[in-house]
């Protein structure tokens, strides 16, 4: 019996070394471990073993069984690995250089830029408001202190409508409504589409976007305005840009300023984009005129504030390098789609 076990042991070792497929291995398993396999046959002889040897033989048989099982499962893993390796190696190669489409359309460049700028303001604690495009003469002119005989009210400059209203000529048309809504403590920006009855050329559109902001509180001063404008532009341009303030004139602010930024195209040396001056007029601003505050029910003796406008379209042109403003309203998808969703 002992000898038989040893022979079987040896024979298995030889056979298992020859196996090279999952099928062969399964056959081998059945040959030894099947119901009528060699180990089972061996067990039939076990009955005849003398009682005193039973313990020793039993242990040997068990050891053999264990060994066969272990070996088979070991081999099984090896064979699977080999097969997987083979499958991987023989796989049909994919041309990884083939192009893919991201399927992404595009946002209008104004949407992209305005969102970027809005995010800067929101991070500075500003509220964002929408205005109307059709406005009353009062909101567009009277409320923001534009005198009755001001040239801007002429038909040549303003799109008047047959019901007496007009297409708003500037985002300031929303100031009165916003000041009334928020009261004397506010930080609000209001982007919007504006209209002027102008002839079109590369630098002029009759339909364009502006972004306006106001800050009102007690003790708001020109020094605050300067600080704010510099920080804000840093946020918008994501770098320190050189700015200069000049006296300006707008009916809705007093004092008024023009803020120029050093020209992004030539870096301040002077080029056609900046008319040779090295500066780009970017941002009219000033302390809100007391009449504007008064018209909105805010006491100008107690509260002061500043307002600023950003030519959104000009910013778009600066940032995209487009040199003709007319592209923006053209609906030319082949051009617009290149902007995707980021600039």
């Amino acid at each position: 019996m002992k000898q038989k076990i040893e022979e079987l042991n040896k024979e298995f070792d030889e056979n298992v070394a020859k196996v090279d497929s999952a099928e062969g291995l399964e056959n081998l398993r059945l040959e030894y471990m099947g119901k009528k396999g060699k180990v089972a046959l061996l067990m039939q002889d076990f009955k005849n073993v003398k009682d005193e040897a039973k313990k020793e033989i039993g242990m040997l048989v068990n050891a053999l069984k264990n060994k066969i099982e272990t070996k088979i499962s070991e081999f099984k893993e090896k064979i699977t690995d080999k097969l997987n390796e083979k499958e991987e190696f023989n796989a049909k190669p994919i041309d990884f250089s083939l192009p893919v489409s991201d399927g992404v359309g595009s946002l209008h460049p104004r949407t992209i830029i305005l969102k970027e700028v809005e995010d800067v303001f929101v991070s500075m604690g500003f509220n964002v408001e929408d205005g109307y495009e059709i406005e009353t003469e009062y909101n567009n002119f009277d409320a923001v202190n534009v005198p009755a005989n001001h040239p801007a009210r002429d038909m040549q400059d303003t799109f008047w409508l047959d019901n007496g209203e007009l297409l708003k000529t500037h985002t300031s048309a929303a100031q009165n409504r916003i000041l009334r809504k928020y009261g004397p403590h506010c930080k609000v920006i209001f982007p919007g589409r504006c209209f002027r009855n102008e002839s079109l050329d590369a630098g002029h559109e009759n339909t364009f976007f502006q972004m306006e902001g106001i800050v009102v509180s007690e003790n708001v001063s020109v020094s605050n305005l300067i600080y704010f404008m510099k920080e804000m532009l840093k946020g918008v341009f994501k770098k320190d840009i050189e700015v200069r303030l000049r006296p300006g004139f707008f009916p809705f602010t007093e004092p008024s300023f023009e803020l120029d930024a050093s020209c992004a195209f030539c870096g301040g040396k002077g080029c056609p984009s900046c008319g040779g001056s090295g500066w780009i007029e970017l941002c009219p601003c000033g302390m809100i005129h007391p009449n504007v505050l008064r018209n909105a029910g805010i006491d100008p003796e107690k509260y002061t504030g500043f307002a600023f406008g950003l030519g959104a379209d000009r910013l778009v042109m600066l940032k995209t390098g487009l040199n003709d403003i007319r592209h923006l309203n053209s609906g030319n998808v082949k051009l617009l789609k290149q902007f995707k969703t980021k600039i």
């Binding site: 604690g125 009353t136 005198p147 409508l161 704010f228 303030l245 006296p247 609906g331």
Partner: protein, 791 residues
Amino acid sequence: MKISLNWINEFVDLKGITIDEINKKINQMCCEIEEITEVGKETSGVVFGQILEVKNHPDSNHLHILKVDVGTEVLQIVCGAPNVRVGMVTMVATVGGKVNGQKIKEAKLAGVESYGMCCSESELGIGSDDEGIADIDFKVTLGQDIKEVLPIDDVILEIDNKTLTNRPDLWGHYGMAREFSAIFDRPLKPLPVLELAKFKGLKKVKIDVKTDKCFRYSAMSVANITKKRLPMPLRIRLNYTGMRDINLLADITNLVMLELGQPMHAFDNNLVKDIVVREAVKGDKLLTLEGETHEVNPGSILICDGKDEPVAIAGIKGGLKSGITDETNSVLFESATFDSGAIRKTSRSIGLITDASLRYEKSLDPELASIAMARILKVLTTIDKNVVITSSYSDVYKKKYEKVNLTIDSEFVSKRIGIKVTNEEIAKILTKLGFSCKILKNQVQIAVPTFRATKDISIKEDIVEEVARMLNFGLLQPKPLEFSVLPVEKNREHTLEYEAKLMLAEKYGANEVHSYIWNYDNFNKEHKIETKPVLHLLDSKNAGQSSIRSEMVPTLLKFVSENKEQLDGEVRIFEIGRCVPSLDENKLAIEEKHLAIAFASQTKTQEELFFCVKKFLVDFASNKLLLNLEFTKEGNVPNYIHKVNSCSVKNGDVILGYFGLVNPATTKCIDKKLNICVCEIDFTKLCEKEGYKQKVKVPSAFQSVKFDLNFLVDKNKTYGEVREALNKVRSKILVGINFVEVFEGEVLGGKKSMLFNFEINGKDHTLSSEEIDNFRNDVIAQMAKNGYALR
């Protein structure tokens, strides 16, 4: 406007101030300098010379050979000018010198040697005369460089007019000199004038002002004018500051205008003796100095002679007939002030913008009229000693501006500028700018000078500006804002607008466009699109674009049509914009914010496009708004939308808009091969209400059972109807019913089948086969009741 620094220097000593400093400070403290030009720099080696001999050139019929004495030697110069004569003193550019950048070399002209060039004023850039060489009529030393005698070297500042809109006082050199004096802290010299009171005893000019639009009209007559031209230094000045020199009298009025900002006019006194200022009536017209006839609108101001004949369009242009000529030797000078709005209106309506009208539009100070008169007489009598003044200063002064007096304290100013300023500093700054200040009881009492009081300065905040700019706010210390820190509420609709756009771009591959707010009448007509605009522009520069859009899809269809070829028949565009579909009871616009989408394709089917649009609507509503939109056949669609394949979009009871195919008529006008699906909904209404998120359900740990049922339904039944019947199935074990597919085939006869997948779960136990069968049978029975048999 051009400013000559030589001219400024006459009133304020600029010695030692660099151009750089001027550029910086004037820009920061006063107005924008667009360009600085150093004139005369490109001219050198030009001297005075006298022609000693004139000989005709043997080989040319217009050239002459001159012998010119330039002090140190006599040069042979070949010259083509027609006005050469022996004894004439002229300007000679010598060899090695430069004339406006052009280098002078020895040359052979038609075979004859020439050692220099005799120059015209125009060649030197100092005069408008280009018909002959300069004819010097004043005493000079031969051989002397012209730059030693004449102000050839100058610096010209080109000021951006826009930045002077509110400063009528800066439209002349003297006003600008006042700014220089304040900015650089140097004294301003008084303006030399003739004392007008001296002529009180002379006869008056008869002036009848019949309109309130003329604030002041003053006139004075002068006779025995013997000189014909302005002295050369003054002519150079005119030319450098953008004017041409014409003749003494025209030039002198221009000179005073450029100096003081007050336009003046000179009438030939033989033709115009009395003055009537009146408003034009219909048919009034005038042949102006330019030789053009202008008919002015009634209400425009006209200057007329004693016979009520128009002789000038007030504040804009003089008439040809009464104008001065080279023969005029007695004139009537006008110095007047008109209503700025009236001048602007007339100037725009006749399309004539002049140096005078530009200045009048800025609201000139009427006080300036008498100063200008006193000045022009001073200049004229200095130039021409023979002049006789023949009238007293005749003045009709109808509208005097009220004096502006302000009281301000340092605290008011400091609070607004953001740095501490004392009353003394305020007074000092203002005094330099021509204000009168008195410090009384801790306050500054300010009398605003008339030249700043016509519209520029009227309130205390205006004073803040004066102080701030003179402190050079470019140098003010920036100060952070003091503000309470509170969370900021997001503008929901505004945020959603961006999210909708981003979703359409990123997930649906669509391109955002911006279009105009008006309809394109021609496009709409050609494409059988009817719109119902309720608002119209009164004046549009573009014909057929004057009605305000009541809906946005037509413009998107125009863009589809324009883009289809470029984009190979695949256009997906959208816009969120405004339109006005109706007016309220006061006829005010009810403006709506709409989302419009147009998906067009040559390759995708109508159904694919249709469901792509629907998918977006459902996607956006359920994921960004947490809303379940409904789609129904109620509500109307525009005429260009498919009557059958379109539907309304509803939230609760509110119809938000529609989506669907463009009807065949309009589609075929755009492109026969194209399928187009569009959508237009009221974005504000869509975003108005936010839905709620359904509670999260934890999936049962027990195994679910899933099975399919396929129902036979009539062809005209919709999914919605079948689903409604299914929704009536109620059971504790039901987890969900999912639609799988619809099948239409000949095998089904006139019917179609709809396949649904059911999921049931016992929640706290594994379902028995009996439970499963019972549920299944219940569903079948329920559906049978509604007429839907199993297939």
